[in-house]
Subunit: 669 residues, 3 copies
Amino acid sequence: MWPDSLAFGGDYNPDQWPEDVWNEDISLMRAAGVNLVTIGVFAWSIIEPEAGRYDFSWLDRVIDTLHAGGIGVDLATATATPPPWLIAGHPEIKPVTADGVRLEFGSRQGYCPSSPIFRDHAVALVRELADRYGTHPAVRLWHISNEYGDHITECFCDVSQEHFRRWLAERYGTVGALNDAWGTRHWGQVYGSIDQIPAPRRMPGPANPSHLLDWRRFSSDALLELLRAETSVLRDVTPNVPVTTNFMSMFYSLDYWRFAAELDVVTDDAYPDPADPHAHLDAARNYDLMRSLGRRKPWLLLEQAPSAVSWRPINVPKRPGIMRLGSYQAIARGSDGALFFQWRAPRFGSELHHSTMLPAAGTETRIFREITVLGTELAAIDEVAGTRITADAAIILDWDNWWALDADESMPSVLMRWRAALQPFYRALYHAGVTIDFVRPDDDLAEYRLVVAPNSYLLREADANRWNAYVAAGGTLLVGPFSGVVNGDAHAHCGGAPGPLADLLGVRVDEAWPLAENASAAIDIAGSVDTATIWTEWLRAADADVVGAYTGGVLDGLPALTRKKHGAGSAWYVSYLPVDAGPVCDLVLAACGIVPAPDGIERVERSDGTTSYLFLLNHGDTAVDAAAPVGEDLITGAVSAGQLRLPPRGVAIVRHGAAAAAATRGDNR
Amino acid sequence: MWPDSLAFGGDYNPDQWPEDVWNEDISLMRAAGVNLVTIGVFAWSIIEPEAGRYDFSWLDRVIDTLHAGGIGVDLATATATPPPWLIAGHPEIKPVTADGVRLEFGSRQGYCPSSPIFRDHAVALVRELADRYGTHPAVRLWHISNEYGDHITECFCDVSQEHFRRWLAERYGTVGALNDAWGTRHWGQVYGSIDQIPAPRRMPGPANPSHLLDWRRFSSDALLELLRAETSVLRDVTPNVPVTTNFMSMFYSLDYWRFAAELDVVTDDAYPDPADPHAHLDAARNYDLMRSLGRRKPWLLLEQAPSAVSWRPINVPKRPGIMRLGSYQAIARGSDGALFFQWRAPRFGSELHHSTMLPAAGTETRIFREITVLGTELAAIDEVAGTRITADAAIILDWDNWWALDADESMPSVLMRWRAALQPFYRALYHAGVTIDFVRPDDDLAEYRLVVAPNSYLLREADANRWNAYVAAGGTLLVGPFSGVVNGDAHAHCGGAPGPLADLLGVRVDEAWPLAENASAAIDIAGSVDTATIWTEWLRAADADVVGAYTGGVLDGLPALTRKKHGAGSAWYVSYLPVDAGPVCDLVLAACGIVPAPDGIERVERSDGTTSYLFLLNHGDTAVDAAAPVGEDLITGAVSAGQLRLPPRGVAIVRHGAAAAAATRGDNR
Amino acid sequence: MWPDSLAFGGDYNPDQWPEDVWNEDISLMRAAGVNLVTIGVFAWSIIEPEAGRYDFSWLDRVIDTLHAGGIGVDLATATATPPPWLIAGHPEIKPVTADGVRLEFGSRQGYCPSSPIFRDHAVALVRELADRYGTHPAVRLWHISNEYGDHITECFCDVSQEHFRRWLAERYGTVGALNDAWGTRHWGQVYGSIDQIPAPRRMPGPANPSHLLDWRRFSSDALLELLRAETSVLRDVTPNVPVTTNFMSMFYSLDYWRFAAELDVVTDDAYPDPADPHAHLDAARNYDLMRSLGRRKPWLLLEQAPSAVSWRPINVPKRPGIMRLGSYQAIARGSDGALFFQWRAPRFGSELHHSTMLPAAGTETRIFREITVLGTELAAIDEVAGTRITADAAIILDWDNWWALDADESMPSVLMRWRAALQPFYRALYHAGVTIDFVRPDDDLAEYRLVVAPNSYLLREADANRWNAYVAAGGTLLVGPFSGVVNGDAHAHCGGAPGPLADLLGVRVDEAWPLAENASAAIDIAGSVDTATIWTEWLRAADADVVGAYTGGVLDGLPALTRKKHGAGSAWYVSYLPVDAGPVCDLVLAACGIVPAPDGIERVERSDGTTSYLFLLNHGDTAVDAAAPVGEDLITGAVSAGQLRLPPRGVAIVRHGAAAAAATRGDNR
């Protein structure tokens, strides 16, 4: 069963090297503690050099050699880049932009997601690989395709357009139902048949937002169909080998809830920018999402960079300690390992300047030293593999909402986007030491003390009813601005925002009141001043307590932050986007009995129910004496008696009883 | 006859609502004072759901219902968006960009202006509508198409290219004449036949400026042909119903002089940006233009937003008072009413977040309250309908010049554009309280004390001769920089700038001397320092008085501002672009005997020749005691004895005798 | 033989004027000192108004008239813009962008470089011209095409793609060799045949860098083939008339080393921006390059603007004195003359606002006065024609390296580009008064005391070996950062940077350490602090002297600037990009015995071996008393006794003995 230990390793491309290098690789991998490598991701044109002729000899030798060296294999299905002969024979596979440009071969992953020719060839290849390697003892995991949606998230060719129409016909049945759902009576778009409906290519002016929303859903589903086509073969041929595809953190274009449901293991490619001093905050958020996508099972950090990447305009390296700290951060938040892209510095190609575990300058480099230290450490903390994480608070994430909100035209403000709305709330909870799950809007919320919807612009009435029931049962709900505006078809809720949340929150929005760029507004919360940016609202609070009110400016005196109690529960509405959601979150956390731990140390606890492991991570540049439970630091063996000294960029993992863990979490329910 | 009262209302889309909502609409409209609504603008796909099959039943009921409710109809010809079946059957209707991208259906108004198929179908629809509703008593006005040129101002498809060639053949007769007019001997472009001439699609480098100028003329004419095709049907079938098409304020792509000549009523869609503190200055300018386009007849503000729009990146709402003030500003400058886009908040589509007279949150909103107040007030000042405005000063506006100047490549400075040149002069005259007409360069100027040409880069010799005669007859002419450079073919005038104005102005331009971005130059005017930006010139004043000279910098000591007297008249040349044209305008106003009223209150007077109505508008945030004639404020009934207190964003309309009006204007000729 | 005197004149377009203007032109040219004009550059559509029908009558008269006036002719082959009939008959000649947009006729020079139809017609025209005018006594020079690569540097049409494939087949022989050279095993791009290889049109993600590099080489060669096709005819028909094509200074897209090898005279079109206070530094660099491209023979400044150009967004004029100073700067650095674009102000076309020798405002203008002064002066210094320049230092320029470094994607930092790397080193040497030659990486370096490679990202092993030998023989080599990274195929050198320079420099680069935008790093050089921007490196200096070390920041204490001695020679490595390379260059100059002359006066010496001419140029706005050899100023006739007073923007040319010249250069080897 997967996993049985912490994985350490990375992508490995022996197909780019003479075989005499392979033995040196295995030897250095063992020295560095590598136990799992990903192979074959871009090997299609090597495995199948012409249609139907397969050459597995080299791959046989690679897998056997790795196995002999005690290194497991995450085996790619090799479908990420279709080979030149397939493109040359079927140029219609090449994807087309909204402008009608057919994108050329020469990079990677350039295929129309809806192409039946591409899919048929890919599935045939997967079946060959599954037949040949499905029972090889080295194969630990199937790695399907690569980073679905990287480069190509949508295709506007005629084949895709036909696919879209079939998808619409299935969704709506009749063109009349579609016309109703899209509101085509606006701007004279009433369709006579589904065959008249175009892909939303470049248009003279703004598109119908319902059209765009369905296009986003379709485009995500088109790639999902490819994933399902591959998993279907693999589950048929090799039911005992777990499958994954590598995600790209919090990614706009794909509804990862739907993708994750197809997988045995969620895996992530994580590339925090070393030039961004807040990168670890976004990394924590992404790792919480990965754990949540897998429904709290351990996930796996499948790719990260040892130092710099090569695809940003400026690729700043990771200074010493950052790679180790980031690896532990992923494990703290549920990853059962830490893998890298990639093992050995390449000789050619587009990733020549991407850092590697084994740099071009060899084993005497600081990177290889740091890699080896980490590999050694991970082997010593293997017992945390398989342990899980419990969260008191949840944040609602709904791709439909993200797509509707980030539509980029015809909205009150282009600055009011999902990431902008999420950021202050996630960061405030992070700084308060609160561990977060992400949930779907229709998930069962009962186990959470606090549920935050930073923004729910698109909100289905049925989901609103669920949230109502959650609060009625004693839960605490915090709803962010510009919520409850449209339903699942992107039609306005009757009576205006917050639509189906109006009774629950006790407020009505007269008008969205977006702020000009760089403008701000002040809110008085019990004498303290909070600052809004990007967004405020002309709000009426007919049936709610006004906790904070706008002060100064056009909205002076109007309610800004409200609370309405429902039995033991309460529903809060914040009508503005706070620069720092700390003050709002402090009030809400206090109300639901979660005790914050805001000492600047990142703390996450993994547990098997009996033994717990509290991870303490110091992202700062100065040492900190941090409160810790009584227990032993797995890394150093030091014993904590309530406090541990964490050096700059330092990590500790304190093993202790589960009861202590609960206490550390401030758990007193 | 149109108009017989002040119009109040807006766009109304009952086709987007169940019929049971219609009665509530009529009832609320009456409560708010609505007396005119625009209907059917985007109804083509509803009225004609398939080729040649018309469904007028719902429209019959809508018009009858409105009529029964006492509400007049501005009936659209519904040709703004061709229906999906027409596009699907004739994809060549879809317009093509300069890059060759054929723009997709899915927004609105996406048609090639030169498409005969589109035109034939549109004209057939117009005839059906005219036949059916032309005599309906509710129909007060024909609303042709919608905002010609919004989204699509030009099309580069082969059909358009053929149309362009026909247009050129008609203009030039022979390819030889065209080669001469375009100067094709430059850069080796001598055409062998008109069939060889392309639409100016994307090119490797700069285009021939004469080619571009004719393309602009043609593209404006191509849409003008569509307007004429519709008016031709309407004048034939319903000669007694006035026709309009809604303009988009001062709009680059269409020569509104030519469009306005086809209309009975000029109408404008005005969307000043509430985030722009100077928006009311540009609004005043636009309203003066609308009045001038209609040759001083009352025009109509056909669309404005009650609060925010939804098509800017950030759509800031109008704070309380701004909508009312802006409505009065339009009426002050000649609009016989104030209409809005749109009546009721929509449920779907691209304009979901555009403010409406009746917001989603209902009648208890501040917007609906402000709307109702305004509707009530307008009913009480109905007597100003039909009155007119007299101006002492005129500004020359010539689309040919605008197109030639704003060519965007191969010019001395991309910053030297029509709007940039106009702005300081219009604003200075506005701040001086001078009411402005816009005129064509070949208009009779005799009635104006002052004529300003902020820029006349393109100037025909015949027009220069007219200006000469105007000055010789006692007029005052102020010519701005970079004028008299090219003739109507965009060929340089002999001897350099100011070409045919050289004798009139008494100056010669050695060299244009554009300033680097953010640079400025100083000019000494009788000891005061004026500041130039964007533009200066190396000027010689052989035969003119030097009123101001450059001081410091490369041009130190050279003439900058000159005056040459011709009998009672005088011709001024300002060779630079002033940051603030106030000092220059003060000199010129004094010279022509116009007394400024620079107290910060916007004053415009409407009159029927006997009774006059002085509008006073306070755009400031503080109350002002403003000088006013003896008379009665139409809104409050208060009597002015020479002064009126205007609250912040306040308005007064003082009814008084026409003689008093003349005195207030400082009229002493 | 060319040249026999200093050329003065410009482009002349009599085909745009009635013949009665020609005589006025000749007369004014003579007054201004003009002795050479370029004619016919864009005359194809006039000379050949339809296929195969030639009209030379006007050109006969023009050339005869000029000859009668004593003015020589630089006769264009007129192939720069194909005529409309050729484009209309063969639209496939129009070039295609990477996005697939076929660029329209209507500008200039819009042809696919690989089009056989274009080439055949061009060559036929050249033969006609050569037959007719090759022996005309007025014809001094053939001007082939115009500014190759202006506007179109590459074409992505199918014809070009086929040409690219032929070029690849010739370069690599087999697809296997190509796959190896391009590293197509990366990202699954192994080609089955060369027919599968696309032009690098727009792709979904980053392209293979070797693919891009070969595309750059091919695109340069495609235009080179056109040049060769024309020179081939001309050398055949008129072997005694020298040929040129006008270069565009330091131009990215064309390997001018390969182009210059085809020419008898290197000519340059130089357009320093008057708004740039450092423009004269880049001009000096460009002129040094032109001289170097011609292997030190005199070259010719074929185009410059008398004042403003018309193709920048803002075209600031040249204030008085700048045109003269810039003309002398070109002559100082080896130009045998100064020509302009263009003679007479045009009446029409895209260059209407480009300044001219004879402005629209006529002969009373300051420009015409300055032109006439210069023409008169040049006639008096004719003796410098044909003299040459000797340099002590050289900078290595390799277009392959430029193309590889500036690839714009998949690199450590987009800011680390050739121009950015070159600039601090060229400027530091300029300010030190050191005259620079540019050399190829495989040139013989023996004659230089100092060789600088500001960046050699792409470095062939054979070239590294040459540099090694140069140092071993006593030379001084200064290598800039990010050098020795890849070989000629853009494959990484084994062991990491600096690859084949590792032993010579005695250093190893662990990691490139690019700096975030606007960040900087400090380097301690013997107690002084130097500042790096854009680029630093994690460097090890196993076998070199550490002359400077990083101080502060992540790299604190690591080596930054190193020197390794080899016998009498030494090799320096600077691992960062200095904001000001002055401190580094000072150390290196001292080490190789070049004495700097940093008094702010630009000094360059031309000599015939016996008599020397020291040019002194004051680019400042204040007068300077400058050290000068004993001799006579050719311009004023003043005698220098060791010092000369140079007014602001002033020039002197001191004639003296060659021995004195050497002393002034600080020549003591």
